[in-house]
């Protein structure tokens, strides 16, 4: 038998309940996060139009750069202002 040392971070992930899926988007606020890739706005403009048709309110957000994680403040802003969020990757 070989005994080895665990090379991982030995994290115990915290399990969180998902928010229940809404029955309808009517009257809810949906956030759209543009990650700043070229033409991502084209896609999100179309998504926004569709959401407005469904009776949702839309908030638009933008990451400073697609190459880095969204800043903590931006994530907090989205979480407190929206009922749902769509993150779009333009690749």
């Amino acid at each position: 038998m070989t005994t080895v040392l665990d090379p991982t971070g030995e994290l115990t992930p915290q399990v969180r309940e998902r928010v229940p899926r809404p029955e309808s988007l009517r009257g809810l606020t949906v956030g759209l996060l543009d990650i700043s890739k070229p033409r991502g706005d084209v896609f999100l403009n179309r998504v926004e139009a569709k959401l407005l048709d469904l009776g949702a309110n839309v908030n638009r957000y933008r990451k400073p750069t697609f190459a880095k994680p969204a800043p903590v403040d931006l994530r907090h802003e989205i979480a407190t202002q929206c009922d749902a969020v769509i993150e779009a990757l333009a690749d």
């Binding site: 038998m1 070989t2 005994t3 080895v4 040392l5 665990d6 090379p7 991982t8 971070g9 030995e10 994290l11 400073p64 750069t65 190459a67 880095k68 994680p69 690749d91």
Partner: protein, 487 residues
């Protein structure tokens, strides 16, 4: 986890008086066996035998040090050793066989009539190179905090580690406690020292966890300071390891080592410098990648979204050939001084070659290099991506012969790489990719200031140079980072 207070970590008490430590597998011990019996009889000697419990006799004055606890804890390096013990602790000792010394030490005359006057001793079993690591683990009281994972005897070590998701797909060296302790000898930093917070999971990583992954990557202990410095560099805001990991582009941290440590750890800056064959070159970059994978949680298909990836992502690490270069080193060009050991991290893809076997003048070679560098990432894109140029010794000789230094080279190639915007804009050349049309009128530098890093390395023959293309640069992406390597 071993308990630091467990009996194994405490020195066993010895009987007061005279104690001799011996082993049968030592010609001198066998030679003086009659002396041991004589001293047991006349001076109350106790004999501690390391190997054969019946050597030198089956008697109540013979103790067997079966687990070598007595020998290890009381620092026995040679057999025979005679100890003078008070209150269970040795207060004085002699080693080997020297009749007059033994007579004086034991206060007993006429020892070993007929024996030679003097014989050297042998190595103690407790310092046998095949046992020392295991004994250190058993008796030193482990400082290691990592969870112990037991691999069953019917499991293959390599399969078991791979199946736990620890590998990049290549074999790993099992990180046993003995190996990790040996790895930690490579640094003066304590095992529980925090090195960095590793993305993407933002996990605090200790020297110990770096050592565990360095063992798995195949590093020797003396490489550990390089791996630690590289991890510190990778986990800075400037280097943006999270973005570099997550990108769909085929890039990863490329490590360039400068300074005296290159020689100390026998790195290769010559033939096949960017390829296989040298242990330090091959394992240091891999160790960094394994830390990001295992500690940070960054795995291909998880946060690592690379479309193609590249062989460089197994870990690409190489030293600069400073001695053969007429220029200042990469580290010196980045503000460090001669004599400092450093590692520079560049966000790069796999190297590709430029062949130029005809240029005799530096002007010609520079034009050709500029043409090749223009295609860095895309011939239609500029400013956003840095590049690394690895000049071979034969190409460098063109600049040496002409007296060009680094600054002259960068000036000349910078001019050649200042491109007409109209050739780069979207649609130019019938290619929809490109820079925005608004930039059509301006001369556009291919690289931002400082965006072309030049290193000298490679075998003595070959009129080629290598280009390692970068990734999104600056505050939008990654800046190269250089860190000093400290012991």
């Amino acid at each position: 986890m071993p308990d630091a207070q467990s009996p194994a970590t405490t020195a066993p008490a010895l009987p007061d008086g005279l104690v001799a430590v011996v082993k049968r597998d030592c010609a001198t011990c066998v030679l003086i066996a009659p002396v041991l019996a004589d001293l047991a009889d006349r001076a109350g000697l106790t004999v501690v035998t390391q190997d054969d419990p019946e050597f030198p006799a089956t008697a109540d004055w013979v103790m067997h040090d079966s687990d070598l606890a007595i020998s290890w804890h009381h620092d026995i390096e040679t057999v025979p050793t005679v100890l003078s013990v008070t209150d269970g602790r040795p207060t004085d000792r002699i080693v080997g066989w020297n009749r007059s010394e033994w007579e004086s030490f034991t206060g007993t005359d006429h020892l070993g009539p007929g024996l030679p006057d003097w014989r050297p001793g042998c190595g103690s079993l407790s310092v046998d190179p095949t046992l020392t690591d295991e004994l250190a683990v058993r008796f030193s009281g482990s400082v290691l905090k990592s969870r112990r994972v037991e691999i069953a005897s019917l499991e293959d070590d390599w399969d078991a580690m791979h199946d736990r998701g620890w590998s990049d797909g290549m074999p790993l060296v099992p990180p046993t406690e003995a190996r990790v302790l040996r790895m930690l000898e490579g640094t003066t930093r304590p095992a529980d020292d925090l090195v960095a917070v590793v993305p993407p999971d933002l996990v605090e990583c200790t020297v110990e966890k770096v050592a565990v992954n360095a063992v798995m990557a195949g590093c020797r202990p003396e490489y550990l300071p390089v791996v630690i410095a590289a991890l510190e560099a990778a986990c800075t805001d400037e280097f943006n390891m999270h973005g570099l990991l997550a990108t769909t582009m085929p890039v990863g941290p490329v490590l360039i080592v400068n300074g005296p440590i290159r020689e100390r750890i026998a790195m290769n800056s010559g033939i096949n410098v960017l390829g296989p064959g040298n242990r330090a070159n091959s394992t240091i970059g891999r160790a960094l990648q394994l830390v990001i994978r295992n500690v940070g949680g960054g795995r291909p298909g998880g946060v690592d979204r690379a479309t193609h990836g590249s062989p460089a992502k197994y870990g690409l690490c190489f030293p600069e050939d400073e001695e053969g270069s007429p220029w200042d080193s990469l580290a010196e060009s980045r503000g460090f001084v001669d004599g400092q050991s450093t590692v520079t991290l560049f966000p790069g893809e796999s190297p590709r070659i430029l062949v130029d076997q005809m240029s005799r003048r530096p002007e010609s070679l520079t034009r050709h290099l500029a043409l090749a560098l223009r295609a860095n990432i895309s011939p239609k894109l500029a400013m956003m991506f840095d590049s690394m140029l690895v000049l071979s010794p034969e190409h460098m000789s063109r600049y040496r012969d002409a007296g060009w230094d680094r600054a002259r080279f960068l000036d000349e190639i910078g001019d050649l790489l200042t491109l007409p915007g109209e050739e780069l804009i979207r649609g130019a050349g019938g290619i929809e990719e490109g820079i925005p049309a608004a930039l059509a009128d301006g001369p556009i530098p291919k690289f931002r200031p400082g965006g072309l890093l030049v290193v000298h390395a490679g075998g003595g023959a070959g009129l080629f140079s290598s280009i390692i293309a970068g990734w999104v640069n600056g505050s939008m992406g990654t800046d190269p980072v250089t860190r000093e390597i400290t012991p």
